[in-house]
Symmetry: C2
Subunit: 173 residues, 2 copies
């Protein structure tokens, strides 16, 4: 019981249809060159409470911000090759990250609160499913690896949740 309009609307308000065609979900780069983001099953968008799933594609050379969050995060890489940068040190700033090659058919687990960045260092698109816990995501971003944790900026709602958080707040007025 859902219409195409509901499915492709940016902020579906009637909850999460049981079966959805991923190719019909809205996608956007949210101002980040080379990114295609789709929220496959979301908290703000679809009423998920405990897990949220994204499908993200990164053009060669594009990347996530350096960031951290206190939720669990897992990637399942569907296509392409890339580099994960992960700062496992626990000083006053992230510090020099360790580099991990990631590749199609690999899965990646980001330790809670470790600063990290994914960059498409390959020659084709990187496509991956991203699974997070405790949505919606609350992200701290860094300008560089040596920026103090205390200077990291909290970005919440995150880019793809922004429009729908604003609409739901409007609804409450």
């Amino acid at each position: 019981c859902f219409s195409e309009t509901t499915l492709s609307a940016p902020c579906p308000i009637n909850g999460l249809p049981i079966v959805r065609n991923v190719s019909e979900l809205p996608q956007d780069n949210y101002g980040r060159p080379g990114l295609s983001h789709m929220t496959v099953a979301g908290s703000v968008l679809h009423g998920m409470k405990e897990v949220e799933i994204w499908l993200q594609t990164f053009a060669p050379g594009s990347e996530t911000p350096i960031h951290r969050h206190s939720c669990e995060e897992v990637f399942v890489v569907l296509k392409g090759n890339a580099t994960l940068y992960l700062a496992e040190t626990h000083g006053s700033s992230p510090g020099k990250p360790i580099e991990f090659p990631i590749f199609a058919n690999s899965t990646v687990h980001i330790p809670i609160n470790d600063a990290h960045q994914v960059k498409n260092t390959g020659r084709e698109d990187l496509q991956m499913l991203v699974i997070i816990s405790r949505p919606p995501i609350k992200v701290f971003t860094y300008d560089d690896w040596f920026m103090p944790h205390t200077a990291a900026r909290l970005k919440v709602p995150y880019y793809w949740d922004e429009q729908c958080v604003q609409e739901s707040q409007k609804d409450e007025l």
Copy 2:
């Protein structure tokens, strides 16, 4: 800092390596004909606390039990065609289910506590990623759709967690 031995061991005890090749993960049918199950990122197996991810393949004609659980569950269908049976009524038994066709590149959300079953009603393998919250999974199974909820059997630990739960209990003695 992990060896191949750790990766392919059924119960890796040193936590979750950052990057893992999904094709090298252990797979088994756990006594269910036509099933291939892999725990991509697990609670009992890898120390995940809030989400768990499986890669499951169902041969034509094979199916899950009729079951329910109180965690969130999302499927992302990678290959094949199948039918989701979902009992949305809330009487004393699941009752006659609604049928939803599911297909490659669809995503499915199972409402909490609704009894459901996936059957590969297509002609090729069905492959899907399964994401659950609050692992490890605690499953109630039904012999048929008209079995009373009170007669459903709680199966915990679930099949793919069994061996490692037993090993960790042994370690604690």
